[in-house]
Every structure is written in C-alpha cells, then in structure tokens.
C-alpha cells in the first residue's frame, strides 16, 4: 500500500467525481422526466398505447446498460448518426433511467387502492384531476424508496461511461493508474468515493421505506 500516491492523486480523482455527479444529475433530470411520462402513459385510456409502451419498456429493460451504451456509441454511427462520447453516455443512461423509472411510477400508481379512483370520480373530478390531485400525491410517497434506489444504481453505473472514454471518476482512476501503476490503491480510493456518495442515498431509501409501513 502506498498512501502517498492516494494523497497525491486525490485532487484528480475529485475532478473526475465532479463529472460523475454531473452525468448523474443530467441523467436523473432527463431520464426521470421521460420515465414519468412513460409510466403515466401506461394509464391513458387510448387503446393500444399502454400495451405498446409496456412492451418497449420490457424490451429495453432486458438489455444490459453496457450494451445500450455500445449500441448507441458504436452501433448508431453505422447509420450515419455519430454521437460524441459524453452525450452518448448521457443518452444511453437516460434511456435506462427512463424505462426503470416508468416501472417505479407504474408500480406506485397500481399500489393505490381502486377505491381511491372511484371516490375521486364520484366527487366529480375528471380523469386528469383524479390523477394529479388524488392518485399521484399518494403514489409519490411509495415511489420515493425505489426511485432513490434507482438513483444509487445509476450513480454506480455511470462508471460504465469510462469504457467509451468519457472523463469521470472511473476514467480519472484509469488515467492515474496508467501513470502511477498503483491500481489497487487508486481503484480502492475511487470505490471509497462512490461509497461516500451512495451510502447516504441507500440509507435514505431504507428509512423512507421503513416509514411507509407506518401511517
């Protein structure tokens, strides 16, 4: 173990961390917005759309994120659609985030007892009002733990961006190792940084989940 190497390279790793956080925030914003729309579209009365969206979500969710990333970064240029590394990573991860968030939204809405829908309709709310002022606020509470869990997985998975050469924490670690050859210490430090970011989120998800059991 060589702790001097860790101290010396820490600033560079933290610069990578800044990009990890940037990617994660961008993906959470784009992916969640798209995911909520996809999730809600499972409940529209238009024939066919919920089924179609359900199929697409199931298909995309079955594909590993690494393959989505390679498909977008290496596969789409074959069609003349060349996307640089950073947007390609954000796009692939947003797609992943969107389909998974849509399942969280669907699950949250389906967990609301049917009587709530009927009660809302019987006091004269229309379908949109029922959704926005009765169902969604209740469902939100149940969506928070799995959604935060999803964000944690996403933060860990932003490391895959390094494979196509995006500069973030894992890439910063790789570059540092190419220079210092201290792979054990540097990767361990990178792991520790991910841990410090992810653990509070995991704890928060566990606490909110436990609180759901109580009224």
């Amino acid at each position: 173990m060589n702790l001097a190497v860790v101290v010396e390279t820490l600033p560079y790793l933290l610069r990578g961390t800044l990009w990890t956080v940037t990617i994660a925030v961008a993906v959470i914003v784009v992916g969640t917005a798209a995911g909520v729309l996809l999730g809600l579209s499972r409940f529209v009365p238009w024939r066919g759309l919920p089924t179609l969206v359900g199929w697409i979500v199931e298909l995309v969710r079955a594909v590993p994120l690494l393959l989505l990333l390679f498909f977008i970064f290496f596969g789409l240029p074959a069609l003349g659609l060349k996307i640089p590394t950073f947007p390609a990573a954000v796009l692939a991860m947003s797609l992943w985030m969107a389909v998974n968030t849509s399942e969280v939204v669907r699950g949250g809405i389906q967990s609301i007892p049917h009587g709530q829908f009927e009660a809302a309709r019987s006091i004269g709310l229309n379908e949109i009002q029922t959704m926005t002022s009765v169902i969604f606020p209740q469902a939100m509470r149940r969506m928070i733990p799995p959604f935060v869990g999803l964000c944690t997985i996403l933060i860990k998975d932003t490391s895959l961006a390094a494979i196509i050469g995006v500069f973030e924490l894992t890439r910063a670690a790789q570059e540092t190792i190419e220079r210092t050859f201290r792979s054990f210490e540097i990767y361990l430090t990178a792991a520790a940084i991910y841990f410090v970011i992810c653990l509070p989120l995991t704890r928060f998800a566990q606490r909110t989940e436990a609180r759901l059991g109580r009224p």
């Binding site: 079955a62 074959a78 003349g80 860990k156 792991a191």
Partner: protein, 222 residues
C-alpha cells in the same frame, strides 16, 4: 445521413459465436448465482445467530459491495489484487467479482426474509420441542426462502445483465463475443442488435420461468 446498407449476413455468420456467448452468459450467471445464494444464506444466518461483531462484519460487507460500482470491484480483483501478489485469470476474477456482488444483495434479501418470519413461528417451533437446528431447517428457512424468492429472482435477472461487465477484463461471454465480432467486421449495428435480442430472449424467458416458479411455490403446502 449517409446511406447504410444493412448486412444481416454478418449476423448469420456470427450467429454460432453469439449463441456460444449467450450460452456462456447463462452458464456464468447460473454458477455465480448458485455460489452467491450459498454465500448469502450463510452470511445471513451468521449475522442472525452470532454476536455483534459478526453482525457488523457482515453488514459492512453488504454495504461496501452494494454501494460501490461492480465495474470497480471487477477492476480491483483483476488489476488491483495482482499488486498484492494474487493474480487470477480473467475467468476467475470475473466470476469471483460477480459472486461477491450478487451475494451482498442476497445476504440482505435473506436477512429481510428471516426477519419477516413471524415471531410466533419461532415460539411455536420451540414449544413443539424442535431443536435450534430443526427449527431453522424445517420451520424458519423454508418460510424465509419463500418470502425471499421474488427478490432473489430479480437479483438473478440483474446478474445476467451485470455479467456483461466482465467482458471488460476479457472474460468470454455474450458481450465479449459481440465486441469481438463487431470490431472485426465493423457491422456494429447488426451485431449489437443481435446481441441485444439475445439478452432480451434470455431475460424474458428467465422472468417468465421465475414467475411460474413463484406461483408454484406460493401454492405448495409449507
């Protein structure tokens, strides 16, 4: 946009290799899951039965492996450990990283499963004169496994998808084969598309299978 002519014959030529890769993905995931189930159940039992120290060690393992990227864990095993004198092949590195990662989740799932067994079941088993061992073997663990089954199934599905990461250290499976073929013939779109289709078939078949098994498990008498 430039005109692109698809060449699906590239997929046809690569198909035997891709199928072999898909087989390896299934095999690797299966072996890793069996090992991760054993390790997870053992650790959950240890943290349930032993003292504070053992419980803290298990909890630390679970938190560390669940809150750091699998990719970094794979890199630590494959690139980091040789620095300490422990050099493993890509296969063993990839497999052990996948096992340790999946086992951390399984430990947590089994722990929650054991805790979800109602307290009365323990008391009933004891008052029926069962020993600690018999109680766990015949009363508690069967119920805990049943409670844990859906979450374990989800973890297996994640494992199949996560196994694609070991391609980065040269362990041969579906993702590795897809990279290998498409970097040689440049038919990236077709080959990655075909590989994606194979993952979809594996994952959907597995999901249906787990769902059917879950239905049978819930109907079966205790």
């Amino acid at each position: 946009m430039t005109a692109y002519s698809f060449e699906w014959s590239a997929v046809l030529r690569g198909l035997p290799y891709l199928l072999e890769g898909a087989g390896l993905t299934i095999l690797i995931s299966g072996v890793a899951m069996v090992l991760a189930l054993v390790l997870g159940l053992a650790l959950a039992a240890i943290s349930q039965a032993s003292g504070r120290l053992a419980r803290s060690v298990v909890a630390a393992y679970v938190e560390i492996f669940r809150n750091t990227p699998l990719l970094i864990q794979i890199f630590i095993v494959y690139f980091g450990l040789p620095q300490l004198g422990l050099k493993l092949s890509p296969f063993l590195s990839g497999l052990s990283a996948l096992v340790l990662y999946a086992a951390a989740y399984n430990t947590e799932i089994f722990r929650a499963g054991l805790e979800a067994v109602p307290h009365g079941q323990f008391e009933a088993a004891r008052s029926a004169g069962l020993s600690e061992r018999q109680m766990l073997r015949y009363v508690i663990v069967p119920q805990a496994v049943r409670i844990s089954f859906p979450a374990l199934g989800n973890n297996l599905v994640s494992l199949v998808k996560n196994s694609s990461l070991v391609s980065t250290i040269g362990m041969v499976e579906l993702m590795f084969v897809a990279n290998d073929i498409s970097f040689n013939n440049f038919r990236t779109f077709e080959i990655y598309g075909a590989a994606a289709a194979m993952y979809v078939v594996i994952v959907l078949a597995l999901t249906r299978l787990l769902h059917a098994a879950e239905g049978r498990l819930l109907r079966a008498p205790a």
